[in-house]
């Protein structure tokens, strides 16, 4: 059962917002997945990044606007890819 009022507004949401929220959720789920795989907690990521734990919690909610610089720092610290670009995908395929 969908809420009628939400549904009316939902139908008018721009593609830009749609993509933004999806990507933000995908990014935080990927970071979480890496942390779990490495046996790390959010507070350890905070220490490694020199940020407060509450700052990291804010990032992990699915509505944070990550900058490329922040994502690069996280990738460098965790040693894992967070975002795959089209170029990455093409290179991956060429190795197969």
């Amino acid at each position: 059962m969908k809420n009628k009022r939400l549904e009316e507004r939902r139908n008018k949401i721009s593609k830009e917002i749609d993509v933004f929220v999806k990507q933000s959720f995908d990014i935080v789920d990927r970071i979480h997945e890496i942390l779990v795989a490495q046996g790390k907690e959010q507070k350890e990521l905070a220490v490694l990044l020199g940020k407060s734990e509450s700052e990291i919690s804010k990032w992990m909610t699915g509505t944070h606007n990550f900058t490329i610089k922040t994502l690069s720092k996280i990738e460098a610290i965790l040693g894992e890819k967070i975002i795959l670009t089209v170029k990455d995908k093409v290179e991956e395929k060429s190795f197969v």
Binding site: K2, V28, S57
Partner: protein, 161 residues
């Protein structure tokens, strides 16, 4: 005087049921929130983000890490996180599968307690949360998967039995 309030379903999603609260003869608390931010208002985009956030939570589950901790007490009161402005929609997160949406607004003070309206939004949820816990203990309410079953009517202000 006691006020009658019901918990009712707001929206059902794949992994999460979103409930809301309704005082007798009034619109739901979440409708009151939406009334504050009609289409075309200054915060239109933020409301769109909240709606998309609800969609994703509905598909991915209401995991604690997606919510913004709001109340300092040991309760289930959280806010839907919006970073650009201090827009708050307060919720009770009962489980990974059940969320009760309340009311909220723009936070212009350091804490919600300093704003009488936002404080009343949070206090209402805190009271309902306490009643739910008490009724779950006495089995008047059963949490089954994403459903809240049983006696979902409260009289706010009534003394705990």
């Amino acid at each position: 005087m006691k006020s009658k309030i019901d918990i009712e379903i707001f929206e059902e999603c794949e992994k999460v049921n979103f409930y809301t609260l309704r005082f007798q003869d009034e619109e739901t608390e979440t409708d009151k929130f939406l009334d504050q931010f009609p289409e075309g208002c200054e915060n239109d985009e933020d409301i769109d983000i909240i709606i998309k956030w609800i969609d994703h939570i509905g598909q991915r589950g209401a995991l604690e890490r997606y919510f913004k901790p709001e109340s300092k007490r040991n309760d289930n009161i959280w806010a839907i996180p919006i970073e650009t402005v201090s827009l708050r929609l307060y919720v009770i997160r009962l489980s990974d599968n059940i969320v009760i949406l309340g009311n909220g607004g723009i936070k212009t003070t350091g804490t919600y307690n300093e704003d009488p309206f936002l404080n009343s939004c949070v206090e209402l949820l805190q009271e309902v949360d306490r009643y739910i816990k008490s009724r779950v203990q006495s089995r008047r309410i059963i949490i089954y998967q994403k459903q809240l079953l049983g006696d979902l009517t409260f009289h706010i202000g009534e003394k705990k039995k």
